[in-house]
């Protein structure tokens, strides 16, 4: 398992992706899982930095990577004001196709086998994702 604390900057997306890629490879996961992990990490870290912590550098983003018997697990936590995933419009709805944002969660759900959000009692949002072996 690896636990990483990241700054609330866009640069943290690439940093997190590189760490996750390296860890996944060290655990013996192949390219297909590696691609899914890379995408999920990028999208979830970007969401945490941009929408969660709103680039507030006094708030950190925590990422945990774990090699579990069932697969590769990623947990990302921000310390923002949280949001309801159900409030995110469906980007595949024809009326939303030409919107420029709102696709990150769709990508996470499409490439990871399990995605769960929870609101920690001390604020922010935690997303836990699993890519099965």
């Amino acid at each position: 398992m690896r636990e990483i604390e990241l700054a609330s900057r866009i640069e943290s997306v690439e940093e997190a992706a590189m760490i996750a890629d390296e860890f996944a490879k060290s655990c013996g996961f192949g390219d297909e899982i590696g691609f899914a992990v890379d995408l999920a990490v990028r999208e979830s870290i970007a969401n945490a930095v941009k929408h969660g912590n709103k680039f507030d550098e006094s708030k950190k983003v925590n990422m945990t990577l774990a090699d579990k018997p069932e697969g590769f697990e990623i947990t990302v936590r921000d310390y923002g004001s949280g949001f309801s995933v159900d409030d995110i419009p469906d980007p595949t709805n024809p009326e939303n196709l030409l919107k420029t944002n709102g696709r990150g969660i769709l990508f996470m759900r499409s490439f990871m086998d399990e995605v769960e959000w929870e609101s920690p009692t001390d604020g922010g949002l935690r997303v836990k994702m699993l890519k099965k072996r």
């Binding site: 990028r42 941009k50 196709l97 030409l98 919107k99 944002n101 990508f107």
Partner: protein
């Protein structure tokens, strides 16, 4: 250093942008946005994005493609896509954006479609 390089060339009245690198949140997306804006400012509104060299695109990058498409269309022009990798094609399929963009595997067919 930007994650992406954008090379511009002209084929008649069509501007081809050869993208190489990553179109992601941050510099990659901004570079594409700025290039499209500049071209539209120059009156160049027939644009072909060659994505053959794009190794990775995230949701922000996809959003930038959509933004570019809309901006070009607003100026009475057309933006199309060339040489999508399988992964990018999969992402556009998941987002239902293959119903929005005209995509091509070869440059000749792409250029002919502007006539």
């Amino acid at each position: 250093m930007a994650d992406i390089t954008i090379t511009e060339r002209q084929a008649g009245d069509v501007t081809i942008l050869d993208l190489d690198g990553k179109v992601t949140i941050g510099e990659g997306s901004v570079a594409l946005r700025n290039t499209i804006r500049r071209l539209l400012g120059e009156g160049k509104n027939k644009i072909l994005l060659n994505l053959g060299g794009v190794g990775y695109i995230d949701s922000s990058g996809i959003g930038e493609l959509v933004s570019s498409f809309t901006a070009v269309k607003k100026e009475g022009g057309v933006l199309k896509l060339l040489s999508l990798t399988q992964k990018i094609q999969d992402l556009l399929a998941i987002t239902k954006l293959l119903t929005v963009f005209d995509t091509f595997d070869d440059e000749g067919s792409a250029l002919s479609s502007y006539n």
